[in-house]
């Protein structure tokens, strides 16, 4: 009963607002606070009772792996962060989490490393204390690094059974020359195998990036901002600011179409990915919003291409396309799994025609409005628990360090016109910026 009442009072107006174009799409009010050392805290009280979710986002990912031979290090570091401190060795840390019944994990992507824990509200103080301790006082020996790097190799092995992993590895390597997006977050196998020898570098990596100015703490759930702020000040206030700024290489303009092929050693259906270079995430320039909309117009279940290739002609059993937000210029990709090798060419031509179609013909206003509606409902429906809310904010914090960018992005979607779609397509879907990678399996 208490839950229903609370939801009735607060959640309903908030989520209803999310679906009306003139309103802010991020429905929660939040408190954003910057500490003197550069640490940022975003507290989002929600009406989901008892549970609290903490996401700690470090703005470093495989993008920050600038030195040769060091790919995969941000991800390795995510693993190392579970290796304890003097006051809280791993057994103690795990024991406390276990008694708290907490669900705790972490992930790394191109642009961020995030540590997340979801637990009952009475344990917030404990969790903030434990987390501060490992961010400030992580301690591990060369032997521990050697052991943990084998777990990373185990993760590589687990993933290596999938042809899609390989397809993406080769796509990035082919499409980029200088950008650190050239390698995947997992890193090159040779670098993963060399990790046990890289103790000194690992310390350097921690010293550079695990600093308050790179870090944002997101606390969502059954909390009060003032209390959270004083708890964070107590445990994180003395953390020392760093000075390192990574020189991320700038990708030179691509000068012609590229292609590559993967011979997969065992049986699989053929895969193909067609990619175009596109700019970095922006909530002030319309281009990225228009590209997001093109992803849905061109390649979602409701697109003409999907209807033709998957439902009608049944040449393809998987089709997806779009742009994933990135700090630096990245790729707009369209990927397909083709049922018969003989249809590869037809599928490739159909995908290319779809890209060209946006340049040649204006999309209808109705279609565009449908996609905008889809995006708003889809976002509103994602926010169905505190962990999902904190997790969504974490993705955007990696880009702009504030949930406000979500609202700006959705305001931008609203402004995109059919003419914008055409202009953006003409600007980016050019042969010079294109890379095509195919993968075929061994004959049975």
């Amino acid at each position: 009963m208490v839950r229903s009442l609370l939801l009735a009072c607060a959640l309903v107006p908030a989520l209803l607002a999310a679906t009306a174009p003139s309103q802010k799409v991020f429905p929660y009010s939040y408190d954003q606070h910057d500490f003197p050392n550069g640490l940022r805290l975003i507290t989002i009280p929600t009406d989901f009772p008892n549970v609290v979710s903490v996401f700690i986002v470090v703005q470093t990912g495989s993008r920050n792996e600038v030195e040769p031979g060091k790919s995969g290090f941000a991800h390795l570091f995510e693993h190392m962060m579970f290796r304890g401190t003097k006051d809280n060795p791993p057994e103690k840390y795990q024991g406390i989490l276990k008694e708290a019944g907490a669900a705790s994990n972490a992930f790394t992507s191109d642009d961020l490393t995030a540590y997340h824990t979801t637990f009952s509200k009475e344990d917030l103080d404990t969790i903030l204390r434990l987390e501060a301790d490992r961010f400030e006082h992580l301690e591990y020996s060369p032997a521990i690094l050697k052991t943990e790097s084998l777990a990373v190799l185990g993760e590589y092995n687990k993933n290596s059974a999938s042809p899609v992993q390989k397809l993406y590895e080769v796509l990035r390597d082919t499409a980029f020359d200088k950008s650190t997006y050239k390698h995947t977050t997992m890193g090159y196998l040779k670098d993963v195998q060399d990790m046990p020898q890289q103790y000194e570098y690992s310390k350097k990596f921690f010293d550079r990036y695990y600093r308050p100015e790179y870090t944002t703490i997101i606390v969502a759930g059954d909390v009060k901002p003032a209390n959270v702020q004083s708890q964070v000040a107590k445990y994180w206030g003395d953390w020392k600011r760093g000075s390192y700024k990574a020189e991320i290489p700038v990708e030179p303009a691509q000068k012609g179409p590229r292609s590559n092929h993967v011979n997969w050693p065992s049986a699989t259906l053929p895969w193909m990915v067609i990619a175009y270079k596109v700019p970095a995430y922006s909530d002030t320039v319309k281009d990225m919003a228009a590209l997001d909309l093109i992803g849905f117009l061109g390649f979602s279940e409701n697109s003409n291409l999907y209807q033709r290739l998957v439902i009608q002609d049944q040449l393809v059993d998987y089709l997806e396309g779009g742009y994933e937000n990135h700090v630096d210029p990245y790729l707009f990709t369209a990927m397909a799994r083709v049922k018969k090798p003989k249809d590869m060419k037809t599928v490739e031509e159909s995908i290319l025609e779809t890209f060209h179609g946006f340049k040649d013909t204006l999309v209808s206003q109705d279609r565009l409005e449908e996609v905008k509606k889809h995006l708003r409902y889809s976002f509103a429906m994602e926010m169905d628990n505190s962990e999902a809310i904190a997790g969504t904010v974490a993705r955007f914090v990696a880009l702009r360090r504030s949930p406000d960018t979500i609202n700006k992005m959705y305001e931008m979607y609203d402004k995109v016109t059919p003419e914008d779609i055409q202009a953006v397509a003409k600007k980016y879907f050019a042969e010079n910026g294109r890379t095509i990678v195919t993968l075929t399996g061994a004959e049975k």
Binding site: V51, T147, G154, K158, S266, N302
Partner: protein, 493 residues
């Protein structure tokens, strides 16, 4: 008030007696409305040589058109609402689920209802979903996820010869011969009022649940009581090994045996504590994770389940509505480097042996119990999950899952747990599935019983080195006759 009524209903376990659909509701003011319609039927009801009929029938409903709408039109209607209907087929339960914003409730429900009640049975939809099913088995499961492959082969092995003895999606040979008429027959027999549980959660209007129930009453056959007789699971004699030969970098293991314990049984919570102690999926506090990964760097993780948990690669927690009358105890060893393959298997078996012989100590018990008391709250973090668990509680005839676990754990003692371990767990008679390249060579090593000493890239504590000596010569007791090697393109055939 309505939430309370639901709870009392589920406690009374009324669902299975009536001829009409059962209704489980979780009303609140959330503007998202969640649908979970569960039919108490599934792959276990596949007719002989029609393995996959249950899964294809569900796919025809959730990924095909209705009498009135083509699949294209279904998608066109759903897209602006950002909604869909998803199906999940397990042995005893078939679930259709989806969510919609309250703004779109009527429009969504109209399509949802016609998808379940008035499927279109179009040949072009049939061809597409059938090909998808074949490719799932042939390409995705055989070819791109060794962990899931190992787990599903393990289930096939343990349940061979029973109605649980094939992958839920079916067998390739049966799918190739399936017809639309087979699916229509399955639909007519098993999609019945008696089998249906209507689940609704969120901010639907007063009277909506009654209306939905009325809409479904009389639109399908009343149905007969489905076969829930015990399964005649063959007794495993010794340590049986199935090796799946395929091109791969590493070696994945799934180890298990059937247990006669399900939710609601007296020893379920004792085994749940044991599972959490040995290691729940993605939980780094588990014993196997600590001993195999953290201490020795053997792989990415090692876990235990006492209930079916598909898609573990992609999920943190198991999905609800996978209720079964028979479950297995299972150890999941994520892929290891080939040179450590024997040692890793020995270590897992050694730890299980130790557990069976010594049980948990007081501190581990208290800590694990405390973990589960709170962790259970997190399983219910969405309306959808809470609704799913409530339906499962109806299936198993227990109170809502949270109270069941939390109240039961409060009364549980260390002695209960250790007695249940002795009663239900063992290491002598079990199935081991290995996914590897070069199975013949690995087989020789596993069978000859010679020690497999472990070497590391860094110094280890004395305690570990001493334990390794014991583990390296742990008797695997695998007889040559008990090992079979299967090429990957023969599994699920």
């Amino acid at each position: 008030m309505r939430a309370l009524a639901v709870l009392l209903l589920s406690v009374a376990g009324l669902a299975f007696a009536a001829d009409e659909p059962a209704v489980v509701t979780l009303p609140n003011s959330n503007p998202i409305v969640t649908f979970r319609f569960v039919f108490r039927t599934g792959a276990a009801a596949d007719p002989k040589s029609k393995e996959g009929a249950a899964a294809l029938t569900a796919a025809m409903l959730s990924e095909g058109g209705t009498k009135e709408l083509t699949y294209k039109q279904v998608i066109e209607k759903m897209f602006p609402m950002a909604a869909s209907v998803n199906s999940q087929v397990d042995k005893e339960m078939t679930t259709f689920s989806g969510s919609t914003h309250r703004d779109n409730l009527e429009a969504y429900y109209k399509v949802f209802r016609s998808m379940v009640l008035d499927p279109g049975w179009r040949p072009e939809d049939f061809e597409r979903v059938r090909q998808d099913a074949i490719n799932y088995l042939k390409v995705s499961l055989r070819g791109s996820n060794d962990e899931e492959l190992g787990k599903e082969v393990l289930y096939d092995q343990i349940y061979q010869g029973t109605r649980y003895g094939h992958e839920n999606v079916g067998t390739i040979s049966a799918l190739e011969k399936m017809t639309i008429a087979d699916l229509q027959a399955f639909y007519k027999t098993h999609y019945t009022q008696r089998n249906l549980i209507i689940g609704l959660a969120g901010g639907f209007p007063v009277g909506f649940a009654d209306r939905v129930k009325k809409d479904f009453e009389g639109k399908m056959a009343v149905g007969v009581k489905e076969d829930l007789e015990p399964l005649d699971v063959k007794k495993i004699e010794g340590r049986q090994v199935t090796m799946v030969e395929k091109q791969t970098r590493s070696v994945a293991y799934s180890i298990g045996f059937p247990i006669d314990v399900r939710r609601g049984d007296p020893d379920f919570l004792a085994l749940l504590v044991t599972e959490a102690y040995l290691g729940q999926h993605r939980n780094s506090t588990g014993l196997l994770y600590q001993r195999m990964r953290e201490l020795r760097g053997l792989n990415y993780g090692d876990y235990v389940y006492i209930e079916y948990f598909p898609q573990g690669m992609y999920r943190f927690e198991p999905a609800p509505n996978l209720g079964r009358i028979s479950q297995i105890f299972q150890i999941w060893i994520r892929p290891v480097e080939p040179p450590t393959a024997e040692f890793a298997l020995r270590l897992a078996m050694f730890e299980l042996d130790k557990l069976v012989n010594k049980g948990l100590d007081e501190e581990s018990f208290e800590r694990t119990r405390s973990f589960l008391q709170k962790y259970t709250n997190l399983l219910m973090k969405t309306n959808d999950a809470e609704l799913g668990y409530l339906i499962d509680s109806k299936y198993y005839g227990i109170p809502d899952y949270r109270s069941y676990v939390q109240n039961g754990l409060a009364k549980l003692t260390l002695a209960d747990v250790n007695r249940a371990i002795k009663k239900h767990l063992q290491t002598e008679n079990l199935d081991i599935v290995v996914v590897a390249q070069g199975c013949e060579a690995l087989k020789k090593k596993l069978v000859n019983g010679e020690p497999s000493p472990m070497t590391y890239n860094s110094p280890k504590p004395e305690e570990v080195m001493a334990e390794d000596k014991t583990v390296a010569s742990y008797p695997l007791k695998i007889k040559e006759d008990n090992v079979k090697i299967v090429p990957v393109d023969e599994v699920f055939q």
